[in-house]
């Protein structure tokens, strides 16, 4: 088996999603290479070389790859796919953007968001918002997989892979990065946070999320939201936890004013410990919470912040 992992990085360093993806690759077994495509990405490449179990880091360092636009990444990955049996990327917005096109150009299926490796060609993945688990066998010569990062541990950083520089460059000329609005925050990213406190429709408005932030400050937590809160315009979509937002599995997930729609549960039910604070004791969220507190959130949450 010869496996290629597409690294997610910000040119300076590797994103932790890459480490989870390498663990999935190692579960398949065989030789694992990591492709770091970026611009001035030597920092990320050097870090990738430290990932345990990786034999080779392939580096494509060119302005064309700075923002990893799909149109430019596709020819590069397809070229590097020669001789590979598996191509993996994390199921992040970047991995989801790029990898299906790679599969199409290789004329193979993509198996999305795998949560377990059963064998070299058989994988489990959630369907219907996690309400069913499908075991899927690939019939293709090359397996193209995106990996649900919360289902695999992070690989350690005590390896010493060789670094190989790639020279071929494709700028398809079809797309151009214009700009980005990145939510500036001192807090950890949702998908990497050990503790998350999320608010739902019960928060009432966006300003009220400040009471969650007071708790987050005490716990070093990330702040999330349910789709209902996003749809109601309380907060921005990048805070959304759920089937259509981010999939998270922190050590502690505190759901505040969230009823527990299937859509939301799909995004957080693999958290180690779940706390629910809701004034409706019939709310479905209580059926999966380890600790439920039936209370008015506007009293309970400030009290929680005070007691931490």
């Amino acid at each position: 088996m010869s496996i290629l992992v597409i690294a997610e990085h910000d040119n300076a360093s590797i994103k932790s999603a890459t480490l989870n993806t390498v663990t999935a690759a190692l579960a398949i077994g065989g030789d694992v290479s990591v492709l770091v495509a970026g611009s001035d990405c030597q920092g990320a490449a050097a870090q990738a070389a430290k990932i345990s179990g990786v034999s080779t880091v392939l580096v494509a360092d060119n302005a064309a790859y700075q923002h990893q636009l799909a149109e430019n990444m596709l020819p590069l990955i397809v070229e590097q796919a020669a001789g590979k049996t598996h191509i993996l990327a994390p199921a992040t917005t970047s991995g989801k953007n790029i990898l299906p096109g790679v599969a199409a150009l290789l004329d193979v299926a993509q198996i999305s968001e795998i949560i377990s490796v059963e064998s070299a060609d058989t994988f489990e993945r959630p369907i219907y918002a996690g309400n069913a688990i499908a075991k899927v066998q690939s019939l293709d010569a090359v397996k193209v997989l995106t990996v649900r990062t919360t289902a695999f541990d992070e690989a350690a950083l005590d390896g010493a892979a060789s670094i190989e520089t790639l020279s071929s460059v494709t700028d398809a000329g079809l797309s151009r990065f214009v700009g980005e609005e990145v939510a500036e925050s001192e807090r950890p990213e949702l998908t990497a946070a050990k503790v998350i406190i999320s608010g739902g429709r019960g928060m009432g408005n966006g300003e009220n999320f400040s009471i969650l932030e007071a708790v987050a400050d005490k716990l070093g937590a990330a702040v999330g939201a349910s789709r209902a809160a996003v749809d109601a315009g309380f907060v921005s979509n990048d805070m959304q936890v759920g089937q259509t937002g981010k999939i998270v599995a922190p050590d502690l997930y505190i759901a505040v004013g969230i009823s527990g729609a299937i859509q939301h549960l799909a995004g957080m039910k693999d958290s180690k410990v779940i706390v629910a604070i809701n004034k409706d004791e019939e709310a479905p969220i209580f059926s999966i919470a380890d600790y439920g507190l039936v209370a008015d959130l506007f009293e309970a949450v400030p009290e929680l912040a005070a007691q931490l």
Binding site: K96, N97, L105, Q110, I127, Y128, V182, V273, L304
Partner: protein
């Protein structure tokens, strides 16, 4: 400029999904079916492009069993001008859907193809990207804004850290995210009118696309159940449990 919009018939998002006892799949008998929610957003965006004078014609396309025509009629009632149904009794994998759509794109030559970012049944999130790769068109996935400016389109994308804007050469493939728009409801007169709008039915053979199975579904099982825990009486007890029992803070 034509806009092609793809719609998928899926289980209604309000329906509680049940796994069949023989683990062969999900029980879809006598279950309410509907247009995939992300496809509703795609249809809405296509209609808005026409209302804004950017698109001249909106064509809805769906692939699958005959009943998909219900969702195509919905798209027509919402404002699509005509529909194409690619009939298949067998469930089509994403890559095969993308290949068939690529053929429709070749025939219709749309300026924009809009698809939902994912379907709520298989949760694959891949058909739009595959279509872009097969047609060589630029892609704006997970779009929260589509702004057509002559031979370019500015697409704002929902990415993990926030929003990213890319400039794409037309024609483009776009996939919709939740905040792109709020879909309208079809009015009764428009539902009646939709019955008379043209709906062409094509077979896979007529499109001349060869498809094959790329995956085999081995089993479908219910997810592991998470057991509910206890109710605490107040915040002090909660903090105590988190510190001393769960040991997570």
């Amino acid at each position: 400029m034509k806009v092609l919009v793809a719609v998928k018939r899926v289980i209604d998002y309000n329906v509680k999904v049940r796994v069949k006892s023989d683990n062969s799949g999900v029980d879809l008998s006598n279950v309410k079916m509907a247009m995939n929610p992300f496809c509703e957003i795609a249809v809405e965006e296509a209609i808005r492009l026409k209302e804004a004078g950017i698109a001249t014609e909106v064509i809805a396309v769906s692939l699958g069993v005959k009943a998909c025509q219900e969702q195509l009629r919905t798209a027509l009632a919402l404002g699509a001008d005509r529909a194409i149904h690619v009939e298949s009794e067998e469930e089509l994998e994403s890559l095969n859907v993308a290949k068939l759509l690529a053929k429709v794109v070749e025939e219709e030559q749309p300026g924009i193809v809009i698809l939902g970012k994912q379907a709520i049944d298989t949760d694959n999130n891949q058909t739009g990207q595959m279509l872009a790769a097969l047609t060589g068109m630029a892609q704006g996935t997970f779009a929260s804004k589509i702004d057509v400016q002559g031979d370019k389109a500015l697409v704002t994308r929902e990415v993990d850290g926030g929003l990213q804007t890319v400039e794409l050469n037309m024609p483009i493939i776009a996939t919709t995210d939740l905040r792109l728009n709020e879909p309208r409801y079809a009015s009764l007169p428009n539902i009646m009118k939709a019955k008379r709008k043209p709906l062409a039915v094509k077979t896979i053979e007529e499109l001349g696309v060869s498809i094959k199975a790329h995956t085999k579904l081995v089993a479908v099982t219910p997810p592991p159940e998470r057991q509910g825990g206890i109710k605490v009486t107040d915040v002090a007890e909660l903090v105590d449990k988190l510190k001393n029992e769960a040991k997570v803070i």
